[in-house]
């Protein structure tokens, strides 16, 4: 696990399509936003998928198996400007921190922090996304 720290995630780009913004805004139980604005709750998956990876791949890289407990610790999202439909965001990301500890039930867990940066086509920062997941290791040695 410790070897993951500093590992860059593939990197890539993402555009929020109108249909996607419409459906996800509806899923957030929000009114549709004006002027092509995208709901800011997009940030989580735009960061992950835009960086050329998926939630499943992040689980796999952390050695998580089907049925394992994965829980969220925190999100820290910064918007330098609003997200918009059909605007290309270039996304870079990496694993920035790992901590091994024991949870409330006395089970081993690995906590992994991921950080992503979204830039526009001119290289200007649009948003920063950090989050930490706890990977439960109930009954086995960790990778």
């Amino acid at each position: 696990m410790r070897a993951l720290v500093g590992t860059p995630i593939a990197g890539g780009s993402y555009e929020i399509a109108h249909w996607e913004n419409f459906l996800f805004t509806e899923a957030c139980a929000a009114e549709q936003l004006p002027d092509g604005l995208a709901h800011p709750a997009h940030l989580f998956h735009v960061a992950i998928n835009g960086a050329g990876t998926t939630i499943q791949e992040l689980f796999d890289a952390a050695g998580s198996r089907p049925g394992d407990r994965v829980s969220i610790d925190f999100y820290d999202w910064t918007l330098h400007r609003p997200l918009r439909e059909d605007e290309r965001y270039d996304v870079t990301g990496s694993v920035t921190e790992h901590e091994r500890s024991t949870d409330r039930r006395g089970c081993l867990r690995d906590s992994v922090t991921y950080e992503f940066l979204l830039r526009d086509g001119d290289g200007a920062p649009v948003a920063e996304v950090a989050f930490r997941w706890h990977y439960g290791r109930d009954d086995r040695a960790t990778p």
Partner: protein, 143 residues
């Protein structure tokens, strides 16, 4: 009316709670493989009595809805959140918040807000600090 420290932010309420339909849409858009969001047998086997667990980006979405309705759709600058409990399908959801500080940032008035999201009127599922750019003249939506 000028926004002041201690002002209460009008809540966002979702009386019908998180729904399986919105969770399924979100799972597809996020490419989230976790069965906790769409498989009742899976959640029953894990002690949730067959109720589905809402995705945390949706819980963020509810708080963001509240902030955008209050200060405008481009107002949110940063949000830092933790998730002490899960939101389950069918539970009524409500957000709340208040202004804890105001500062000038590059010519903008920025409100630091303590915000939260509760289920069933009592279970706190999200606690966060958010920074919001106040509109010109502090023209926020009043409580």
């Amino acid at each position: 009316m000028r926004v002041e420290v201690g002002d209460v932010i009008p809540p966002f309420q979702l009386p019908d709670g998180a729904t399986p339909e919105r969770m399924r849409t979100t799972a597809a858009i996020l490419r989230d493989p976790t069965p906790l969001h769409w498989d009742r047998e899976y959640t029953r086997a894990r002690g949730f009595e067959g109720r589905l667990l809402n995705q945390t980006p949706l819980n963020m979405g509810y708080v963001l809805n509240m902030l955008m309705a209050w200060a405008g759709p481009t107002s949110v600058r940063r949000i830092r959140a933790r998730f002490p409990n899960v939101v389950l399908d069918g539970s009524p959801v409500a957000t709340g918040g208040s202004v804890v500080a105001i500062e000038e940032v590059e010519g903008d008035r920025v409100a630091e807000c303590e915000v939260w999201c509760d289920r069933d009127d009592e279970v706190r599922c999200l606690v966060a600090t958010a920074w919001v750019t106040l509109p010109d003249g502090d023209d926020v939506t009043p409580r």
